[in-house]
Symmetry: C2
Subunit: 212 residues, 2 copies
DNA sequence: ACCTGAACACCGTTCAAGT
DNA sequence: ACCTGAACACCGTTCAAGT
């Protein structure tokens, strides 16, 4: 699979252990989610628990190594899609791919979202990379006038994460419906209905909300 | 606080322990989320761990007892809002309240969503109650023609849960932005833009997604 | 330079013994 | 009828000792 981030050379047995841990972690995380027992991972890889900690000092470090390839793929895909004739369809296609790649393990969406907020997290750079990739397509679609101008790259990331979380929890069709609705909400609107245009101004979420 | 679900009478000391457990659980869950140590809860309440298990055989049972009041409130609120002059605003107001009530503990949205899927869960009835409450306002708004007819009560519940999860993870303003976008996606649309009306038909989320 | 596994702290859950 | 807390199984994390 991959190589440790900065490292140049490793002893042969260390390299073997590293690869084996990554491969078995992929299986274990897929089976049981991001909270799977690290002892279980080490057991699967046939190494002592200390060896796992030697290579991956935190669970996040392990998750980061597992996600590296997927994050790169999303970046590449975004740059490819910049050449798609429809800016709108390009954005939507990429968003679907991003949801797919960030919901491969139960709990991944939550890990990513919290890493997005925490700058010191091992996964924070990965989140930033996804944000930047999405921003390319978002900006293009906004310049084409098909996506509302007040949506930010952070909004897009949050939306993708929320749908990824949803698709971890419910059947694929249900998550897909929500994604469709949400993407519709991103479209450039222009006078939808002849209803009283009451404004949904961002405000408190909680509240007594004067009734009628 | 509340009363045990079916039970009629309890010994005085048992009732005291029950109430104390519930009160301390509320604090502990608020502090540390739904995965807080149950031993911590028992310790706070000044009872042995076995006493906690005697009253609440599972973590979900405890969560269910904590949520009972909030779920009832949401039902009442929905019925009140049926008299609100604007069906759209009524729905949106209730949705915001629902998000607020289902994101009071870190991890609550995930518990609720998984209980929505699992019919044997202790929290499943609570989820159903929320779905039914939302359905009242959704149906009314659809009959008024302001909300798209293809949105279901399950869609609304999923949307609320997804935003509740989001607001557990990120600052309130960010979650509020996403909610606004999502609610816009629920509006009855009628020809938004003079763009080629490429159709986002529900399909796979993953996929090679033929590029351009 | 890397690996091992015992050690420590902590938790979920059950259940025999008490009152 | 209810409470207690020891017992068991399991896990996260560290680190002295090995090779």
């Amino acid at each position: 699979m991959g190589m440790p981030a900065g490292q140049r050379r490793m002893r042969a047995d260390a390299r073997r252990n590293y690869e084996r841990l990554l491969a078995e972690a992929e299986i274990a995380f897929t089976e049981q989610g991001t909270e799977v027992s690290l002892e279980y991972v080490a057991r699967r890889a046939g190494v002592a628990i200390g060896t796992l900690y030697g290579h991956f000092p935190t669970r996040q470090a392990l998750l980061e190594a597992l996600m590296r390839g997927r994050v790169e793929t999303l970046g590449t895909r975004a740059r490819e899609l910049l050449h798609h004739p429809s800016p709108e369809e390009a954005l939507y296609t990429w968003a679907r791919a991003a949801v797919a790649h960030t919901s491969v393990y139960q709990g991944l969406a939550t890990s990513l979202m919290s890493s997005f907020e925490a700058e010191d997290s091992a996964l924070h750079a990965a989140c930033q990379a996804v944000v930047s990739a999405g921003e390319l397509l978002l900006t293009r679609a906004q310049q084409a006038g098909v996506i509302r101008a007040d949506a930010s790259a952070a909004d897009l990331f949050t939306l993708i994460s929320a749908i990824a979380w949803t698709s971890e929890q419910v059947p694929a069709e249900q998550a897909e419906r929500l994604l469709s609705f949400a993407l519709d909400g991103l479209r450039q609107t222009q006078a939808t209905l002849p209803t009283s245009g009451f404004s949904r101004s961002p405000g408190r979420v909680i509240g007594p909300a004067s009734d009628g």
